[in-house]
Symmetry: C2
Subunit: 397 residues, 2 copies
């Protein structure tokens, strides 16, 4: 059943078979077409084979290459697949860091078992990621203040076409230069963008359901949602805001979690609200969790600069609540969080035929997103020593 059986080998991230690339790839320039393609990976990849009979084999580091997959493989037919999104950061002190990698390890282990793929000890994942970056970090991520995107993935790659729990699997990790949208050159013809435009999903398109798998990072949550995503993009929107249920609960935005800062309708208190995890509809984002923890630690007790204190609340909110708050002038700011989008303000939501502004006073975000983002960046890029950062020792060039 994909869980850890005592008689088979466990995943061990401390021992590797390494094959060096002898044909190093070009490192794409920031903002180049190659980088924008999200397809140009670093020189190496990590792979770890698993079989039901023997468990996890010795991890391999090898030259980045296509995978050879049987046409009958489970992953191609039955979506036995799950992944993580992480980044590795080049600090201003020259060190490489991961951000809370054990959170990703834990979630990938959960997602893998939810897909009937093998489980593993969650804290091994960061060792596998670190090994890849020890080798590729020096050449691919030389500049302080920049990052690479890391994609650990587990797939059912055995050759058995019958509908069944996979007997073979492959964990692989790749690293890819990713455009930093916050640093892209602005188009001088266009007004500066104050935030994302979200398109609220219609009742006939539902991302996840109680008893389903919306809480796990399975491929099955993504492919079926691309149709609505593509339609929203064609209309000029950035992401879908996924609603659920007859009361049109706000769950998550595209592949990110959704936050709103507003004055509570009942008592006027300033709150940061995001959807709760308990009904298992939404992905428990690592950035989501970090935002909540930072706000509770640093913003709940008193003001920070110009910004008033804020209470972080995980509570069901509906699109009707947001529309009402917008009309009543109670919205202060809203943003999404995630590894790919990081912390990005939201300017508006279109729900059916209504456009709802989610900016604050004078149509500007108040600055909470900017503040929280700066706190996170300080940890990621080593301006602040913090136990959420995991430092990678690299090979000398």
């Amino acid at each position: 059943m994909g869980s850890i059986a005592p008689h088979v080998a466990e995943l061990d991230g401390s021992n590797f078979n390494i094959t060096r690339s002898t044909n190093l790839r070009d490192v794409p320039l920031p903002g180049s077409a190659e980088e924008l393609s999200h397809s140009h990976c670093t020189d190496h990849m990590v792979t770890v084979r698993w079989t039901a009979a023997k468990g996890w084999e010795t991890p391999e580091v090898k030259p980045y290459q296509n995978l050879s997959i049987p046409p009958t493989a489970s992953v191609l037919h039955y979506a036995t697949e799950c992944f993580e999104g992480m980044k590795v950061y080049r600090g201003y002190d020259g060190k490489l860091r991961l951000f809370r990698p054990d959170c990703n390890g834990e979630r990938l282990n959960n997602s893998s078992q939810r897909s009937s793929l093998p489980g593993f000890k969650y804290d091994e994942l960061k060792k596998l990621v670190a090994k890849l970056l020890q080798i590729d970090g020096p050449r691919w991520l030389p500049n302080p203040g920049s990052f690479l995107y890391i994609r650990p993935t587990v797939i059912g790659n055995g050759p058995h076409l019958g509908v069944q729990v996979p007997k073979e699997a492959l964990l692989f990790i790749i690293a890819v230069p990713w455009p930093d949208f916050t640093k892209m050159p602005k188009d001088p013809q266009q007004a500066p963008k104050k935030g994302l435009k979200l398109f609220a999903s219609s009742p006939d398109t539902i991302r996840a359901w109680p008893g389903g798998f919306g809480y796990a990072k399975l491929g099955a949550n993504y492919g079926p949602s691309l149709q609505a995503h593509g339609q929203a993009q064609a209309k000029g929107f950035d992401q879908i805001l996924w609603l659920f249920g007859q009361d049109r609960q706000v769950t998550e935005a595209g592949a990110s979690n959704f936050f709103i800062v507003w004055h509570n309708a009942d008592n006027g208190k300033l709150e940061l609200v995001t959807a709760p995890l308990d009904n298992q509809l939404i992905l428990p984002g690592v950035t989501r969790r970090s935002v909540l923890e930072l706000v509770r630690e640093r913003l709940s007790k008193g003001p920070v600069g110009q910004l008033a204190p804020l209470e972080a609340v995980e509570r069901t909110l509906t699109i009707g609540d947001i529309e009402k708050a917008s009309k009543e002038g109670r919205i202060v700011e809203s943003f999404v969080s995630g590894t790919a989008y990081f912390i990005t303000p939201v300017a508006m939501i279109r729900n059916e035929n209504t456009d709802i502004s989610t900016l604050g006073v004078n149509d500007e975000p108040a600055g909470y997103a900017t503040l929280i983002k700066s706190w996170l960046e300080a940890i990621m890029f080593g301006k602040e020593e913090h136990d959420w950062a995991y430092t990678i020792e690299e090979e000398k060039q």
Copy 2:
């Protein structure tokens, strides 16, 4: 958006680039371990590449081989994948036939677009399948009364890791010898099995939901369901019976559609009942549709042999309805239908702690499943001329 754009090439199943295998594979013996592995395909496969820029390329027939897939491919991360299950039958007259292949073509086209993969003219699919069997049929399916399983699949195999509508895709078709469970040698130590044992899903595991994609044959419907399937098999059951909603509606069984023959609780009429398609929860099975059409044509007006006339009804039924009917002795028979399981009686359902017998009088199925199966087999194997059969002209050996 995956739909057919006028300026790009459409799928054309009348023109092929053919590369013959020079290293023919062993044909597994019926009942052999190789056949039971569901992984030993025929000598060739069909592939058709698609790009957003140019549309469908010329179909290729080539030696069966592993696919070379970029580690960044959409199908490995976002489950951009869908498939069909079909069979090709060697008739008693020596001819090869497909069964209603345009129904599969239509469904694959729908599934592909639901996954944001490209659409195509549905009636081209059968030409692609036929070409593969023209070449591999003589050697791989020589014996009248036998079949091969055919798996057409569409995947997003482009190298772009960003979450987006795929810009590249591959349609491939493979053929694999599949065990015929109705012909497997019986274990003399075991009592003969009267039918499948189904395990009703618990409220915390849902296969599909309104606004989701249960009606399309996407990989995303399968992987997340394997966990419950594996747990049910470990308890000695054959398949999950997927229930939905607070009223515990019976939707479908594993990867097959569920039917029950009973006396209606209100008027005592003999009915064949299966779940309706209108809420888009269940897969619109080709065998399901054929069962309903045959019963309406041949069993609704008068008795056939010993069997009383039967009205076919598509209507929501709950597990409570079945339990009540079982207690009141109103169940006559029940069965599942699908390409893999064909028509197979169901002996019982376990719902929570209750075992419900779904056999009829004297704990035997009444014989409707056997009769309907014989009608379908007559069409598939050419004992009866019928426009549901599509004959393939093979190459001379």
